[in-house]
Amino acid sequence: MPDFHPDLLKSMSAQDADAVLALGRPLTLSSGAVLFQLGADADHLYVIDRGRVNLTLPMQVFGREEDILVEERVAGQTLGWSALIPPHRFTLKATAQIDTELLAFRRAALLDHFTAHPRVGYAIVGNVAATVGQRLQVFQAMWLREMKRVLELSRGTGSAV
């Protein structure tokens, strides 16, 4: 994968990046296939090589439980960071939106590699933290926007969501 620069491997030398990529196992999902379920044990970290994955949460919509889109992940992006962060349980459900190819990294293999190469571990954990932090910031902003609408609704001045 000469042109593959996933966000997980940012700020790493090509040699270190190749060594990490070598730990990954290719995985192909057809459209609609579930990669992981909400609450499942998170023992793999994933990087999308091609395709798109929907991250969803269940929500009751008019009496039916539906998977509601929370976030989309596309080629080059990381998902399943719960594999590196306790308590190692997925907090979303991941489903391939289209035919998708990924690299799956087993947590134990990654941690062994980090132990042998702490500099690589430091870089990867920093990149994962950036992904987590970005999601936190996005959801802070989304939450604030929804709060504003709730306030508008309570005063009867706003439009509903």
Partner: protein, 103 residues
């Protein structure tokens, strides 16, 4: 004669006292007037925003269409939030989207 007048006076006095006592006992009691309660103009109940027209499912909108609208709303809101993170300002944070669930 004096004794007769004295007895008559005492009798009249006793009759007057008895009449007053009887009148006081049989007089209708005036009920105390209750203090006026302030009138509370309660707003119509909107528990969990029930009753707001936008929260009711339109009868001719299928669930699948609604789910697509929710999905579009999430995408637009996420894009708005990401814009705010790229360029933080109150205007960007509060900008409106074209979400079908808002309008």
């Amino acid at each position: 004669m004096i004794m007769f007048l004295m007895a008559l006076s005492l009798g009249m006095f006793g009759l007057a006292v008895t009449t007053m006592a009887f009148g006081a006992a049989t007089r209708n009691e005036r009920k105390p007037v209750a203090p006026l309660q302030p009138r509370l103009d309660l707003a119509p109940e909107r528990f969990f925003a029930e009753g707001h027209p936008s929260f009711h499912r339109q009868p001719n909108v299928p669930l699948e269409v609604l789910l697509l609208q929710i999905e579009r709303h999430v995408r637009l809101e996420q894009a708005a939030a990401e814009s705010f993170i790229s360029l933080p300002s109150p205007e960007v944070l509060n900008c409106r989207t074209q979400s079908p669930l808002i309008h």
